[in-house]
């Protein structure tokens, strides 16, 4: 369609609904600082987005994936927001969540059974939640994901879906997708995060984020791992 010549290109580009591919999109909803400066620099809006789906792809749990989110969740909880965990794969251990700074009386565990997508949609659409983390079934289809994205749109909610890395090549309506790399290539206390989709130019390199790890403060090593850990240069004091 020919653009009328009286319209200058700069005017068109200044419009709010025109997005230029070479800039990171600035989102109208205030993003939630992730607590990791390197990650904030790469995330559109400078943090975890509100009102959009975020997919985090990780194959095996317990690599520090939740610690990645904890600073943001603690912030949401401290502001009085409600958080919901839908169909978590394991049982939450209350003292640890409380120690992470989450208000437990506003942390809801939903055992959704086969209704995960329905539950997440209801929770997002209710507008009463600040954060919804869900572990959907492996077979969740693009149609269901799109419904969730529509439910989240325009609401100040951080919506995060945990999915397997097997779906990394499958298109998804989520505007932000991250893949957590596990395995030996990541450093000892580090978590390798690769942003595989975001609003803006693609990211080429993966980020190595330092995640607080358990057991460091005791600075002690026991049993058979003593020599290995000592080799890695961790201050290890002999134990009885």
């Amino acid at each position: 369609m020919p653009v009328p010549s009286s319209l200058a290109l700069a005017d068109v580009l200044a419009r709010g609904d025109v997005w230029r591919g070479d800039t990171l999109a600035s989102l109208p909803e205030a993003a939630i600082p992730s607590g990791h400066a390197e990650l904030d620099a790469e995330l559109p809006g400078g943090g975890w987005p509100r009102g959009n789906l975020t997919e985090i792809l990780v194959d095996r749990g317990s690599v520090g994936e939740m610690s990645l989110l904890l600073p943001a969740l603690a912030k949401l909880s401290a502001e009085g927001g409600w958080l919901a965990l839908v169909a978590p794969p394991w049982q939450p251990h209350a003292p640890a969540w409380a120690a992470a700074g989450l208000a437990l009386e506003r942390l809801i565990i939903v055992q959704a059974g086969r209704n995960v997508a329905w539950c997440v949609e209801q929770l997002l659409a209710s507008g009463g939640f600040a954060g919804v983390l869900a572990w959907p079934e492996a077979g969740i289809d693009a149609r269901a994901l799109r419904r969730l994205q529509v439910a989240a749109e325009g609401r100040p909610v951080f919506a995060c879906l945990w999915r397997s890395t097997a779906v990394a090549q499958v298109p998804s309506p989520a505007p932000l997708r991250l893949m957590l790399n596990t395995g030996q290539e990541a450093g000892h206390g580090e978590l390798s995060v690769r942003i595989i989709k975001r609003r803006g130019r693609p990211v080429s390199r993966s980020l190595a984020l330092s995640i607080p790890r358990p057991g460091r403060s005791s600075r002690a090593v026991a049993g058979p791992a003593l020599s290995l850990v000592a080799d890695r240069g961790i201050a290890a004091t002999p134990v009885a």
Binding site: E65, W90, H93, A100, Q184, R213, S218, A222, V229
Partner: protein, 455 residues
């Protein structure tokens, strides 16, 4: 509809067949043999009027029931709140239509004037007293409450309209038609005060509704339930109460009753919220037998705390967290939607207490925070036994132990109880496997176990 063998009122089909009020039932059946006859039940009429009065509690606190069929709402004091007389009347009429009541209405400065105008189907808003008097003057003299002989006598005077009656000298008219009709006339015109007996909202709420037909599908009950919940919402508003729990009894045609308890995670008084929760419950309900009546009973009530409205309209989107959780619980079943709180128990399995979501003041978490820093976010439902190889536990490869052993033991107090953890003696370690997974493992007399995951 018949009463004492005479037809009271018939529907359109009956009227087309020539059935009219006052006919003998035998005549009516002669005219239309297929007539369905219902005996008039005055008790149910009164109950219906009272439930409508309860419902009207949302519009005004001053309501009077004038038997047999008049409901007076004093709206003069609520005009500002609802934005004028037309708005409030529109809302009342829409509500009546929603509950499938057909109404005649009128708004006027005197209660008697309004009820006479409504009785004669002169719907209209008469704010000025002179406008109402003009409308009243046009009404026929046959007022239902007056004795028949008075009406006959007025007719024999040759007076057709109330306006003609008003023009006669008062003292002489009083001698001829008696005190009561004369006083009524003065009250209607606003010359005598006319205090009304206010409707007292019942102390407890329990109303029945007999269904017009037997209902076999639970979803179909939502429509009938709406009428009950509308009355409940009005009653709650009138008494300034909030509802925490109510029960809907479904009376089956075999005489049994099924109670359906509706619990709200926070006290509520909103009809829409009641209905959303009811629909979720009905969607899961399997009826044992067809339902022929409903009874709604308010179980737990509490006083509504006063709250100021916001000066600026707050953009509320969606229904809010607690209302949403209620619906999820209704769909997923009890125990599927829970909040956590820490328990003072050193055994990890016992340190988490799951309970229903409640709105309460936050607990003091500081006591549990210190120990929680060294605890994993996730626990396995049951400790998973790990293979030991060359003295080291294996979980997706060899586990490296990264912390000093933390001894957690004892628990004799629930030893032997069903489902309890019992006495334990375990050494816990933070461990990491070659895949970069951080785990919480323990060793006891039986060997190595994986118990938690640091996520």
């Amino acid at each position: 509809m018949v009463s004492r063998g005479r037809v009271l009122v018939g529907d359109l089909a009956a009227r087309l067949a020539g059935v009219c009020a006052g006919q003998k039932l035998s005549t009516a059946l002669g005219l239309q043999p297929g007539l369905m006859v219902f005996e008039r039940d005055e008790l149910r009429e009164i109950k219906a009027l009272e439930s409508l009065a309860c419902w009207a509690g949302r519009f005004t606190p001053t309501i009077s029931v004038v038997s047999p069929d008049v409901l007076l709402l004093e709206i003069g004091s609520c005009l500002r709140l609802f934005g004028g007389a037309p708005a409030i009347i529109e809302a009342v009429l829409a509500g009546c239509a929603e509950q499938s009541y057909s109404t005649n209405w009128a708004a006027a400065p005197t209660p008697l004037g309004a009820s006479w105008l409504a009785r004669n189907a002169c719907a209209g808003i008469h704010i000025e007293i002179s406008a109402m008097q003009a409308a009243l003057a046009d009404l026929p003299c046959a007022i239902d409450e007056w004795p028949g002989e008075v009406i006959d006598r007025i007719e024999s005077f040759g007076l057709k309209r109330l306006g003609d009656l008003r023009q006669l000298p008062g003292a002489g008219l009083r001698r001829r038609i008696g005190n009561q009709p004369m006083d009524d006339l003065l009250r209607a015109w606003g010359d005598l005060p006319d205090p009304q007996k206010p409707f007292a909202f019942p102390e407890s709420f329990a109303i029945d509704l007999e269904l017009p037909a037997r209902v076999e599908h639970a979803e179909a009950l939502a429509f009938a339930g709406q009428r009950l919940f509308a009355a409940l919402a009005g009653w709650l508003h009138g008494r300034q109460l909030l509802l925490r729990c109510c029960t809907l009894h479904l009376a089956h045609d075999d005489g049994e009753k099924t109670p359906l308890a509706l619990r709200f995670s926070e006290p509520a008084a909103d009809e829409g919220r009641f209905m959303r929760l009811l629909r979720e419950h009905l969607a899961r309900l399997q009826l044992k037998a067809p339902v022929e009546a409903l009874c709604l009973q308010a179980d737990e009530l509490l006083d509504k705390p006063g709250a100021s409205a916001h000066l600026f309209e707050q953009a509320a989107t969606g229904e809010g967290a607690l209302a949403c959780l209620e619906r999820l619980r209704a769909r997923l079943g009890e125990g599927a939607v829970q909040a956590l709180s820490p328990m003072a128990d050193h055994r990890p399995e016992c340190a988490t207490f799951r309970h229903e979501v409640v709105t309460c003041s936050p607990h003091d978490m500081r006591a549990s925070t210190a120990v929680g820093q060294h605890r994993p976010l996730w626990l396995l439902p049951n400790p998973q036994a790990l293979v030991e190889c060359a003295g080291r536990p294996q979980w997706h490869g060899q586990l490296k132990l990264l912390s000093r052993a933390e001894r957690l033991e004892s628990g004799w107090w629930d030893e032997g109880e069903a489902g309890a953890t019992g006495d334990v003696r375990r050494d816990y370690f933070v461990a990491r496997n070659p895949l970069g997974q951080w785990a919480w493992v323990f060793r006891d007399a039986q060997g190595w176990f994986l118990h938690g995951l640091f996520a």
